[in-house]
Symmetry: C2
Subunit: 207 residues, 2 copies
DNA sequence: GTTTGTGAATAGTTTCACAGCA
DNA sequence: TGCTGTGAAACTATTCACAAAC
C-alpha cells in the first residue's frame, strides 16, 4: 500500500461502512468480505475494496476484513475516537428531535449543550440537556466543544454561525435552508431537507 | 445550445439555485448574473453558467438570467410544477418536526397524509394533517400521492418502504439510518443526520 | 464595459480485470 | 478456491479562458 490522500467521496462513505461494521460486530461477527458488506449497505464490492485500500491493507485474502480493526481504523480517520462534543443552537421542533435522536451515540457524539432564545425554554431540560440562554453562547469557548449544530430559523442562521465561530467552533452542521459564510478554516455541512425532497420528483417515472 | 443529459451533480444543485432565484424574485429583482447568484449561494459563477447551459440558453450577455423564466424552468425540470404530494410515515419527534417544517412549501410540496402506529396519536391532527393508522397505509394508492417520507425507527424502515412501494409510491425520502432495498424503478434518497455529523471532525483542524 | 455559453484542459471518481496471497 | 489490493481504463465533473452577444 502506498500513501494516498483519501478522496472526499470515500470520506463521505466511511460513516456508512462504520455503521455496517458496528452492526455486524454487535452480532458477534468477526470478519466481513467486501461482497457481504456491500450487499448489506447497497454499494458495490469493488468500491469498498478501493475505499479501504486508501488507508491500509488490513484485509486478508480469502477471509475478509477484521471488523474490530476496521471500526477502530475508521473511527480514527474520521477522528470520532476523541468523543467529539457538539452544541445545539435552536431547540424548536427540529432541535428537539435532534436532542432526542439516538443515532449520534453510535458515532461517539455527545450533544453537550443546547441554547435557545425563548425565555420559556431557558432553564428547562430536554432529553437530559439543559437549555441555556443564547446570549451566553459565546462562553462555550471554555467548554471544549468543537462542533455546532444550527437549528434556528433561517433569519438567525448567519448570526448564529458567526457567534459559533467566534466561540471557537471548528465545524458546523447547518439545518437552515441557506448558505452561511464562515472563515475557510471552519467546515460547514448544510442539510436542507426540503432540497433533498425537491430532487426526488426528477428521478421518478411519469409522476 | 445542444442536447445534453443533465448531470446528477447539476440536478443536486438545481434546488439550491431555485431557492436563490425565489429569494431574489420576492425582493422584486428581475435579472441576476451568474456572479451575483454565486455570491449569494456560495458556489462558483462558472459552475452556475455551466449548469444552466445544460437546459437552454435563456441568459442574456451583459444582463444575466431572467428570474421568472429561471424559476419556471427549474421547476419544470425537477417536476415540481405538478405540486407533488408526499405521505409521511412515523409521527415521532422527527416526523412532527417535518410536518411543522415550513420549507417544503417553497418547492411546491404538500404533505398530504401522515401515518403512525401509536393508537394515542391516530385520529389526532398535527400541523393540520390528520394522523392515520399505519395499517391503512396501503390504501393511499387511490390518493394520487407520489412521494413517501420515512421517519420511523430503523427496525421498521424496510417494511415501511415495502408497503409504500406496494401502494404505488415512486420516490422515498428516508430518514432512517439504514439502507433500504426497493425495486430499481423507485428512487430512494437517504438522509442520515448522524452520518453527516460524523464526517465533520475529519475536516476540522486539530480538534 | 458586462456577462453569457461553451470547447478544451484538468481533476476526480468509478469500474474493471486480474495478479497474488491465504 | 475465495477474496484482497491495485493499476489501468472509462467515465463524470469542475475549472478555465475567451469569443460572441448585449
Amino acid at each position: 500500500m502506498r500513501y494516498h490522500k483519501i478522496p472526499d467521496e470515500t470520506v463521505r462513505r466511511l460513516p456508512v461502512y462504520l455503521r455496517g461494521a458496528i452492526h455486524l460486530s454487535q452480532q458477534g461477527v468477526e470478519h466481513v468480505s467486501s461482497a457481504h458488506l456491500a450487499g448489506l449497505l447497497g454499494v458495490k464490492p469493488w468500491q469498498i475494496r478501493k475505499d479501504f485500500s486508501y488507508f491500509g491493507d488490513f484485509g486478508t485474502p480469502g477471509v475478509g476484513y477484521p471488523l474490530e480493526s476496521l471500526i477502530k481504523q475508521i473511527n480514527k480517520i474520521l477522528r470520532l475516537d476523541s468523543g467529539p462534543r457538539a452544541v445545539l443552537v435552536g431547540v424548536g421542533n427540529l432541535g428537539s428531535a435532534l436532542l432526542a435522536f439516538p443515532g449520534f451515540r453510535m458515532y461517539g457524539f455527545e450533544i453537550a449543550a443546547a441554547f435557545d432564545t425563548d425565555k420559556r425554554k431557558i432553564g428547562r431540560t430536554k432529553s437530559g440537556v439543559p437549555i441555556e440562554d443564547v446570549a451566553q453562547l459565546r462562553r462555550i469557548r471554555r467548554r471544549r466543544i468543537g462542533l455546532g449544530i444550527i437549528a434556528v430559523p433561517e433569519a438567525a442562521a448567519q448570526e448564529t454561525a458567526a457567534t459559533l465561530v467566534e466561540a471557537g467552533i471548528k465545524g458546523i452542521l447547518n439545518f437552515s435552508p441557506c448558505y452561511i459564510a464562515v472563515p475557510k478554516r471552519v467546515k460547514v455541512i448544510t442539510i436542507d431537507i426540503a432540497m433533498d425532497l425537491a430532487r426526488l420528483p426528477y428521478y421518478m417515472p411519469s409522476s
